[in-house]
Symmetry: C2
Subunit: 285 residues, 2 copies
DNA sequence: TTGCCTCGTCTGGTCATACCAGTAAGACCT
DNA sequence: AGGTCTTACTGGTATGACCAGACGAGGCAA
């Protein structure tokens, strides 16, 4: 073992030096894992306003010293928060507290799908509950700017086949604009997760896209109801929309399963709903 | 600039040694960050059934070799997944894929609160939407076992002051049992996040507890409606419950803010809703 | 023989250190 | 004065060592 030799000698040399390698007496006794403790402390630093959304954190090296942990340990915490979406790191320039929480639930939600594999019906019922509520709120609370955003998205769908990538992106914008108009941030985030989740679940069981077969007319009804500030109409139209969407999803899924079993694909472990693979960054162009 | 000196000198010395420091050619060109890539690959391993919920993963050393990354890099990924609740690690024995997703959205949701600080009203509106829906479903779909669980929780609240820790825990069990009876997993998880979030938000603004002032009668009405399989009554009662809860929350929060400003506490940064500190493991005894 | 105890060796947890790789600002030259 | 080039940051990755729980196999004592 030649490689260990020089290292060993080095460690014997530096062993006596560790007199104050660990001066952190401020470590709480509860924290079994340093990483978790660090996450907790960073959370606290954000919550008490030391680091506000959008602010830059000290460099990893400095922060590690400041918190009394090694850089690898600090990095574990930092990377965790970055993956969750609470921090944004840019190689070479620094780490910032996230400005918005829009990504924050998504990665977790993916694993929720993976672990518990809810059915499409379950997902769609949830989506219906939330979107119908949101559209009602949007009809009540919308500003003129909201109407413009919703109308723009609607225009993006007009006249092109609903399966076109552009139409799909516009459809997503449409629902997002409505959610924003509703001014209910938590539900907006949850809805976004559901969109991803439904798309992933459908994709996993076959080629097909969210709201692909959606008729343009329903979207127009929703838009009009919001413009007229008529929550009841808006809800009605959205309920219709969601019902059609779920039918569509079930059809696509059934078709996908058929195609799959005919090609003799493995992984037919569950008859009901199939695996939810990651969405894999299907961005709007 | 003393700190820069040793850095420079060291780098000149160690430059020639880097002959084959980086033999890993299997790295995909897309993956800017290895850690993210590893997370993606582990996700895929779970999604394709190689590792099922509850299963034990290989040791970190083995898995690192298997995936062709260093242990720290693998650990970053593993710890991230552990923090969000997708994996469970036990020092000395191993790492398992989580069996349930109950914890999975929670840590993310905490940061959602931190970053966007939704108002209590927002949180409670969301909770109302979800819980009213769930209780209706529960009334339709409940099994006898569900009724027993809900009844047990109700008994746990009977006759003791609603502020007692035991009563609070029972109240939590009550709502959880209803959510379970509704058989809507996604909403059940979201509701759980909201409970935590509301509690944290209230706690941050002063001493007070979720549903503390709740009258026992409403809970009984809800329970009875579920037993009688009457969704409409169940929804009505839950709507009432939620309305009372929100009033209570607002009162507690206002009181807390008053107390705070009188003691001259700092951190009165926002008049609307105050900071949401971490829930800090308020477990039921 | 049976029970307890101990020790070895698994596991994850932490660390110091070295080096790679982007980024941006300053110095330098033109 | 303007553009380029160096340089000293930033985060990203890897190595290897060691610490600390957990758990089973073996030895020792009753």
């Amino acid at each position: 073992m030649p490689p260990s030799l020089n290292r060993a000698s080095v460690s014997t040399v530096r062993a006596p030096i560790r007199k104050q390698t660990r001066p952190q007496t401020q470590r709480k006794q509860r924290a079994a894992r340093v990483g978790d403790d660090v996450i907790e402390r960073i959370k606290r630093l954000i919550s008490d306003g030391t680091y506000r959304p959008g602010m830059q954190l000290p460099s990893e090296r400095d922060l590690a010293i400041q918190l009394g942990v090694s850089r690898p340990s600090l990095r574990e915490a930092l990377r965790t928060l970055a993956v969750i979406g609470a921090l944004e790191t840019r190689h070479g320039s620094g780490t910032n507290v996230a400005r918005s929480s829009s990504r924050i639930l998504k990665s977790s939600f993916e694993f929720l799908l993976l672990l518990d594999r809810p059915t499409i019906v379950d997902l769609y019922e949830t989506r219906e509950l939330i979107e119908v509520h949101l559209v009602g709120r949007a009809a009540e609370r919308r500003t003129d700017a909201d109407v413009i955003a919703i109308g723009d998205a609607l225009d993006g769908m007009r006249g092109i086949p609903p399966t076109a990538a552009e139409a799909i992106a516009a459809n997503l914008r449409f629902h997002e604009a409505i959610a924003r108009a509703a001014q209910s941030l938590v539900l907006e985030r949850m809805m976004s997760c559901l969109h991803d989740g439904i798309r992933a679940t459908i994709q996993a069981s076959g080629p097909g896209v969210l709201d692909a077969g959606m008729s343009f007319a329903v979207h127009e009804q929703i838009h009009d109801a919001i413009v007229r500030r008529n929550p009841a109409d808006a809800r009605r139209a959205m309920t219709l929309h969601m019902g059609m969407g779920m039918d569509d999803a079930l059809r696509v899924q059934a078709a996908g399963r058929l195609a799959k079993s005919s090609t003799g694909s493995k992984r037919a472990r569950r008859p009901g709903v199939d695996v939810a693979a990651g969405p894999d960054n299907q961005e709007s162009p």
